[in-house]
């Protein structure tokens, strides 16, 4: 079972640039979603920012379902600058993959609770690290897309875009870099203090 916890209001506000579409993912029995708090926060956000649409749907981790659910909202999504996603880490990655050039940001951190875990998508995985990195990495998870779970960039082991550990696997950091390039957000890779993981809060398997 996964628990999603909202990021702080300040963090979410700092992500909300330009025209904003919000996507909520409800309905999955295996993920606890902070529905009430999200609703409150989104109301406040709508008052101070240009929120053009709030979409509440289910199972956005399934790419086909996601496409189907968003079909009727595509005009407003295409016109948006930012998509804020309130879901588990799998849902955010699926949305980010669907909209390559959009700024897709996560508004939740995902934790794991012991017990049966539900339906997860085939292509992406959430490491349930409890300190979601997706907002800085173009919606591609460095914990699960990089064999070494590196958070400060590519190691020297990629050859022709493939990982040194598994030649069938794309280098996660090369994907992240290309995605940030498309989003015009390469500055995300420039920060003064290197990132250091907090394994004290991680429930990683």
């Amino acid at each position: 079972m996964l628990i999603t916890q909202l990021k702080s209001k300040e963090t979410i506000e700092s992500l909300a640039e330009g025209k904003i579409v919000i996507i909520n993912c409800h309905g999955c029995k295996e993920v606890y979603f902070a529905e009430h708090q999200a609703d409150e926060l989104q109301k406040e956000l709508s008052a101070s920012k240009e929120v053009t649409k709030i979409i509440t749907t289910d199972y956005i981790c399934n790419p086909d379902n996601l496409k189907l659910q968003l079909k009727k909202h595509m005009d407003v999504i295409n016109a948006a600058d930012t998509i804020l996603v309130f879901s588990c880490g799998v849902g955010i990655q699926t949305v980010a993959d669907q909209f390559q050039e959009k700024r897709v940001y996560s508004c939740c951190d995902t934790y794991q609770l012991p017990g049966f875990q539900g339906v997860t998508a085939l292509n992406v995985d959430c490491g349930q690290c409890g300190e979601c990195y997706l907002n800085g990495t173009g919606g591609i998870c460095p914990i699960t897309a990089c064999s070494k779970s590196l958070i400060n960039g590519q190691c020297g082991g990629a050859k022709e875009g493939k990982c040194e550990v598994d030649k069938d696997m794309e280098c996660g950091w090369e994907r992240i870099y290309r995605k940030l390039e498309k989003m015009n957000k390469l500055d995300n890779m420039k920060y003064d203090v290197p990132k250091v993981r907090n394994f004290g809060i991680s429930k990683e398997k």
Binding site: I151, Q154, E164, P194
Partner: protein, 298 residues
Amino acid sequence: MRITELFEKGEFVLTAEVGPPKGVEIDHLIKDAHEFLKTRVHALNVTDNQSSVMRTGSLATCKVLKDEGLLPIFQITCRDRNRIALQSDVLSAALLGIENLLLLTGDYTTLGDHPQAKPVFDLDSVSLIHAVKCLEGGFDLAGNAVDGKPPKFAKGAVVSPCSDSVDVQLAKMEAKVKAGCEYFQTQGVFEPDKFMEFMEKAKQFGVPVQLGLIIPKNVGMCRYMNANVAGVHVPDDMIKELQADKERTKSGDVGVEICARLIRECKDYAQGVHIMSLGWENRIPEILDMAGIAPIAK
């Protein structure tokens, strides 16, 4: 001595890589270091369980070399130790008077001879540089004060100038510089044009870079590297050169000539040379002679 002092003096800094044995018989390594390297390179890199193959430790080998009057560079990877052990080993190095570090992420465990091992990667090359910088400032990574006078190191790292994703490598290089990296050694270079192009972009960081060289021993080795070693590409012309005279390639003469030529071609763009001879330490003096680099005045 820290090798950063040499860069500051404008020296063309020469280093060579040695690998600790799988076992504790180290006499051969010491003998070669004295015979072929002592008067030809400023410092010796000691690898840390290179290619994820378990061997005698880098730190202990550094201490042995130091006691022999040589200047060791302690290579540390993040593969086998968490942040507690890494910082502890960095302090241990200071205690033993080892002042030169090369900080790496490390190859993945499954590439080596213990593929069942747990990969650690608690830190990565960038956060490891940061951790060393914290210790130099008198605090550990968790912010706790370190007793007494803080240690001071020359903090080095690696970069791949001939990588097929050189822009991604440059971004990482910048992160390393920001974290406190003071010098770079490159992955093996066989393409001078790519190296020069890379250095044009890398010079903005203002950090010295040593040209990395691997001695091409034979055609099979080159083909293997082209297929499997990240950031390394031996061009077809060079492979043809190795094929042309089988006897001279076998004796190592062609590989030595190629290395000397690479040094001559890239010298003006680099602040030093780092030679990864993979057991051919005895050929290093010849390479440097041919490249016109005189023995070191000590």
